[in-house]
């Protein structure tokens, strides 16, 4: 029985990485719609990983906000813009190689620092990310950031309404 979470971790992690590859470098399609659909699947796999980390509330929020709201917004904009000629342009091979080298070195730095520091040594997975605990923290210790975030959402809403006016000055 204790083997199941480990197997699930590998399944979700592998699927998340494969879907992420399909988002950025899909060999079959260059269409933004395909990228968006694969991004939804990546978000779902990440929600699965959150569940394995016992962060149940965040897993639900991940599905609701990211896979739901944010990606619907993306798809709406893609459909609104009606892009056709985008697929024909090719990625420059020099840019591809340069991107591969720089990203590979960043990844090497990450993995190497992980191997040296070993942040997981001696730690024990103990915390339960229950909604009650998270909510209590949100309304006591993090009350001020919570209010600031609500102001931020208001500002973003006003900004979006202003930006989508017909005659943008």
């Amino acid at each position: 029985m204790s083997e199941l979470p480990n197997i699930l971790f590998y399944v979700f992690a592998a699927l998340a990485v494969i879907f992420a590859i399909m988002v950025v470098a899909n060999p079959f399609s260059r269409s933004p719609v395909t990228s968006a659909m694969f991004l939804v699947l990546t978000m779902a796999c990440l929600a699965g990983l959150f569940t394995l980390l016992h962060a149940f509330f965040l897993a639900a929020v991940q599905i609701l906000v990211y896979a739901g709201a944010v990606m619907v917004l993306f798809l709406f904009v893609i459909m609104l813009l009606d892009l056709q000629e985008e697929q024909r342009r090719k990625i420059k091979s020099l840019g591809f190689v340069a991107g591969l080298v720089s990203v590979g070195s960043v990844l090497a730095i990450f993995i190497r620092s992980l191997l040296i520091v070993k942040p997981g040594e001696g730690t024990i997975a103990s915390i339960e990310g229950s909604t009650v605990e998270l909510g209590r923290l949100l309304f006591t210790k993090y009350l001020l950031p919570f209010e600031i975030v609500s102001i931020l959402l208001l500002v973003a809403m006003v900004g979006v309404i202003l930006l989508s006016k017909k005659d943008l000055k």
């Binding site: 979470p5 480990n6 971790f9 992690a13 990485v17 992420a20 988002v23 950025v24 470098a25 990228s35 968006a36 991004l39 978000m43 990440l46 990983l49 959150f50 980390l53 962060a55 509330f57 965040l58 929020v61 906000v65 990211y66 709201a69 944010v70 917004l73 993306f74 904009v77 893609i78 813009l81 342009r89 840019g95 591809f96 340069a98 991107g99 591969l100 590979g104 960043v106 990844l107 990450f110 993995i111 992980l114 070993k118 942040p119 997981g120 730690t123 997975a125 103990s126 915390i127 990310g129 998270l134 923290l137 949100l138 210790k141 975030v149 931020l152 809403m157 900004g159 930006l163 943008l168």
Partner: protein, 101 residues
């Protein structure tokens, strides 16, 4: 073999690198934006993993805030892209080089 903090951090690092790769090589503003979202999600995964293994719930509150800010950011960014498309009729970054020196 049990799954430790390192396993989650490696997945997070790979996802972040893939997002960065997408930002560098893709030329469509919308796909670049999706790659940015991927990077934010990789950071979220690292924060949740650290929170679970360090017995500290603050990381999860941080993820909550990141998700909220990302939603606001997506709304504003997509509005900008739509406004830009109305003016220039393109979402290709090489056609949007007016500010380039």
């Amino acid at each position: 073999m049990t799954i430790g903090l390192e396993h989650y951090l490696v997945v997070s690092a790979i996802l972040f690198a893939l997002g960065l790769f997408g930002v560098i090589i893709r030329r469509n503003v919308l796909v670049i934006y999706m790659s940015l979202e991927l990077m934010l999600n990789a950071a979220n995964l690292a924060l949740v993993a650290f929170s679970r293994f360090n017995n500290n719930l603050d990381g999860q509150v941080m993820v909550f805030f990141i998700i909220t800010v990302a939603a606001a950011e997506v709304a504003v960014g997509l509005a900008l892209i739509v406004a830009l498309f109305r003016r220039k009729q393109t979402t290709h970054v090489e056609d949007l080089a007016t500010l380039k020196f």
